[in-house]
């Protein structure tokens, strides 16, 4: 745990990380149990401060309003991305699932790859859909900043949107665009000059306006994302 990690943990628990900083940190929490444990610990230690707020009398109408909405259809219940429980373990589960999908695919898929190309990927990431935990795409990252992308199941894009592929080489830099595409077929993309891809590095695909994100950071919904693993 570096001093920078301690700063990040504190800022996160204080609610001071926003936007891509918060997303990047939350992505790390999914893959670094030690960091997640430190966040949970600090939160538990600060609980007595929350307790100093005491209790307020609650209007019974508040429960009525909640009870009326319990049967609302799912789409009306879409929750904001950051309203996540402290000990949310979905990421851990998805990582586990990604690992097993990767294992299942490894034999046939990589064997096939070896027959058709002599290049060996440095890292492979199975990108999972946001809600279904279904494999949505596979990224093979090569040492020369190129990736080979195999879409498996990507949400259809509206006519004025393109798919944009991102990676997070390090939380300080933030997400970096590897490229955009509009036809979900197996393709190669050549990204900017980046450090060699690392295990645990995040890859994701978002929907962005034609021509790619205007801000240079992901702005649209995340369709699929996953963390890199090195092939055995």
């Amino acid at each position: 745990m570096t001093p920078q990690d301690r700063e990040r943990i504190g800022e996160y628990v204080l609610g001071l990380l926003e936007g891509s900083d918060a997303q990047d940190f939350e992505a790390r929490l999914g893959s670094e149990p030690e960091l997640a444990a430190a966040v949970a610990k600090l939160r538990a230690q600060l609980q007595t401060l929350d307790d100093t707020a005491g209790e307020l009398p609650v209007d019974p109408a508040l429960w009525q309003r909640i009870a009326e909405r319990l049967d609302a259809p799912e789409d009306e219940q879409a929750q904001p991305a950051r309203l996540r429980p402290a000990n949310d373990n979905r990421w851990t589960r998805r990582l586990g699932m990604a690992a097993s999908i990767l294992a299942a695919l490894a034999v046939g898929y990589l064997t096939g790859t070896n027959l058709t190309t002599s290049r060996q990927p440095v890292m492979i990431a199975v990108l999972l859909t946001e809600n279904g935990s279904e494999p949505g795409a596979i990224v093979e990252a090569f040492a020369d900043d190129t990736i080979r992308l195999v879409p498996l199941d990507l949400t259809a894009r509206p006519a004025d949107r393109v798919y944009q592929v991102w990676t997070l080489p390090d939380p300080e830099t933030g997400p970096v665009s590897i490229g955009i595409f509009d036809d979900p077929a197996t393709l190669s993309l050549s990204g900017p000059d980046l450090p060699p891809p690392e295990p645990g590095q995040l890859y994701e695909i978002t929907l962005e306006p034609s021509g790619g994100s205007p801000t240079g950071r992901p702005t649209g919904p995340i369709l699929v994302k996953g963390f890199a693993k090195s092939p055995l």
Partner: protein, 184 residues
């Protein structure tokens, strides 16, 4: 074994029932926890209507996501507190405060230091957190507490303490690191 609903079932035991779709369990959790969560949210949001909206979203989220709660990772109380805090902070950051009249906003910002002092004074003398907060410089302590207790961001804390933004950022960073070291 026959299960009879007791008036004071622990939240940790209610949540699995909620995950199975038992409304009575959610109602019981609301009965036990809503007053506390409402107070946490209102200290951040100031307005009762906004705090109630936050709590409404929290309990709807509990209803849908009770299955995600993992008691090995922390108490149900803590799980609920974080949800209430996050919801209130999101509302604050998304501009709920913009609806306040200017005069109200200023008055409220002025009040925040008093809220923070009250929170600190209310900590038990035996609380390790109190001891570790006392060990911080007064300015770092106030910066950390303004952000945590009243939900201010760096800019708002800087305005409240009348210091430059960079100073607040550095106070908060050094404050939270020292706090974690002291609490370790």
């Amino acid at each position: 074994m026959l299960h009879t609903m007791k008036p004071h079932t622990a939240p940790e035991d209610l949540i699995p029932q909620i995950a199975k779709g038992e409304r009575a369990a959610l109602a019981q959790l609301f009965e036990a926890e809503s007053g506390r969560l409402l107070a946490v949210a209102q200290r951040i949001l100031r307005r009762r209507d906004l705090a109630e909206e936050a709590i409404q979203e929290v309990f709807l989220s509990v209803w849908r996501n009770a299955g995600n709660y993992d008691r090995s990772k922390g108490t149900a109380r803590g799980w609920l507190t974080v949800m209430a805090r996050n919801r209130a902070l999101n509302m604050l950051r998304d501009g709920a405060r913009m609806d306040y009249k200017d005069g109200e906003t200023l008055a409220e910002l002025g009040d925040r230091s008093a809220d923070v002092r009250a929170a600190f004074d209310a900590l038990s003398a035996r609380d390790a957190l109190r001891h570790c907060l006392e060990a911080l410089d007064a300015s770092k302590r106030e910066a950390v507490l303004l952000c945590y207790v009243t939900g201010l961001n760096h800019g708002e804390a800087a305005a409240t303490m009348k210091v430059p933004l960079g100073t607040i950022k550095s106070w908060v960073r050094r404050g939270v690191v020292a706090l974690q070291e002291c609490l370790a």
